[in-house]
Symmetry: C2
């Protein structure tokens, strides 16, 4: 089965998902937010995970929905915390309504995720909820670390990797593992597929850091340089400070204080290339990508059934840098 | 077993409950908030519910913890939405830290509630999660209705009762029902004990509306008149507008526009007594109290095992009005 089969199957299901009609101020924002779409990689991973280990995608649909609802809950709340005006080029919930409504509709969406999860067969429920809970806690911890890093002076690269692991990557691992649980596979396979997802997630986030500055504006689909404009401590910036000599440290600080976006972006690019940071970022991204593929290779199922995950990894990670 | 036995058993458990230590900004607020204590009626209901139907309180401790964690999650988020500076005479989380931290630590607390619930025996898990999810959704809906009513002109008394049912009462029903589920009782008993909790909750909230204006400041424990000072549409105010003739309607509007708190409170009291609103409020509170007792009476277990719930209802509902 190929990716688009999973995608259209999931699409039909999420489109037929109904929230109650009242209170309107609680549920209208959720209908709106879900209608904005998105890549919907995560729920597909649950479906693919189930089929990889011999189950039907239909058996994992509720867990898959739970993953997508959870992801949207976290976006709605993150957008409040980040004061983000736009998401997928449309107004965020707290902008279109207000903060209170975004808090509360996010809350109920998290509960709705659990409600979907609880529709799965009761034989798997404890295991599914355990991995889902663990992941949900980690995603919150990652978001807190991300906020802490905004004001923290001495962020280590290892802290940064841990933050992106928690904030964005564990959910990819969890999505796949939930599929594996539903298919009753071995603990070893569960761990391997989780590791695959987690490492793909870290590689993807590192690529995102690179593309944010070095991406082709037309292909990247969002404003170039957003991270550096806001002085965000990404892998690139942290690695630059790690490698810079005293003179270059000064240059980096000067660059961070430039007000004009275009000059700032140009200067950052030049410094990051000179310091070898761009190269390092590509290499570390590749390292996580290879780790992921190694985990996938180690899974003992028919090789051809892995093709859809290999294709997905290619599609996610071979965007032009 | 009497109330204080349950209370001290729960107290030991909640005090030994540990959050992770990092990220500090995520978990310090939760340690702080839980240390503020509170009445902790809800978790006791779960323990009592389990014993009423023949189980040991120990068998329900995780569900009981889940109820308390959930309740605290909802308080942390409600306090942000209500811009409340104080809770239990101490700073609220969003005041002591900030809104973002209060949102995120509330989120993780909700997940922690599910984590506790998932520790219950897997044979009950689906049933427990179903009632917990349904209740959590309702609590959010109740909070949304409460916020909507602040700006809504034509709030009916039936809407108000529905709001307090959802916002505060269903969790009491849920807490008891979870105990009943753990004790493997009949569906009929589950429904009866739920109804008992729910109706006690509605009666309690109506009493709270009354005490907020007519309570003895020394016994009530919080500022008298808070509701009327903020023109909150409580049962008293809604019923007053329902009963008032044209002349009295004008008087009510005038009263609502008084700036001096003391005069406003005095005028409100006088109007509410003249209109018979205080009497009506006491009567409707009693009606829900009687409904609750009728449900409890209908439960087919040894009468003496109900004593602890009768005592609890007395304690909650016979505060001096």
């Amino acid at each position: 089965m190929n990716l688009s089969t999973y995608a259209s199957y999931f699409d039909v299901n999420i489109k037929s998902y109904n929230f109650p009609t009242t209170p309107e101020n609680l549920y209208d924002p959720l209908n709106y937010f879900l209608s904005l779409g998105g890549k919907r990689i995560r729920p597909l991973l649950t479906l693919i995970g189930a089929e990889l280990f011999g189950s039907k995608k239909e058996s994992a649909i509720h867990a898959s929905m739970a993953v997508e609802l959870f992801h949207n809950f976290s976006l709605i709340h993150d957008d409040i915390m980040d004061k983000a005006p736009l998401r997928r080029n449309e107004q965020t919930v707290h902008t279109k309504w207000n903060d209170n409504i975004a808090i509360l509709s996010g809350d109920v969406l998290l509960v709705k995720a659990y409600q979907e999860l609880a529709k799965q067969d009761s034989t798997h429920l404890t295991a599914l909820i355990d991995v889902f809970n663990k992941t949900a806690v980690e995603v919150c911890e990652g978001q807190q670390m991300d906020m802490d890093f905004e004001v923290k002076e001495d962020v280590l690269i290892s802290d940064y990797i841990e933050m992106i692991r928690l904030k964005t990557s564990v959910l990819l691992g969890c999505a796949l593992e939930m599929g594996a649980i539903i298919a009753n596979t071995t603990d070893e396979n569960r761990n391997l597929i989780y590791d695959f997802g987690q490492n793909i997630g870290i590689a993807f986030q590192l690529q995102d850091d690179i593309l944010d500055l070095f991406g082709d504006p037309e292909k990247f689909g969002k404003q170039i340089g957003g991270d550096i404009i806001s002085n965000k401590k990404t892998y690139l910036l942290l690695r630059a400070f790690e490698l810079a000599n005293a003179e270059q440290q000064k240059e980096l600080h000067l660059m961070l204080s430039i007000n004009d976006s275009e000059s700032k972006i140009a200067k950052a690019k030049q410094l990051f290339i000179d310091l070898g940071v761009l190269e390092d970022a590509k290499n570390i991204k590749l390292k996580y990508q290879e780790k992921a593929i190694f985990s996938l290779d180690s899974i003992k199922v028919e090789e051809c059934s892995k093709n859809v995950l290999t294709a997905l990894a290619e599609q996610l990670l071979n965007r032009e840098i």
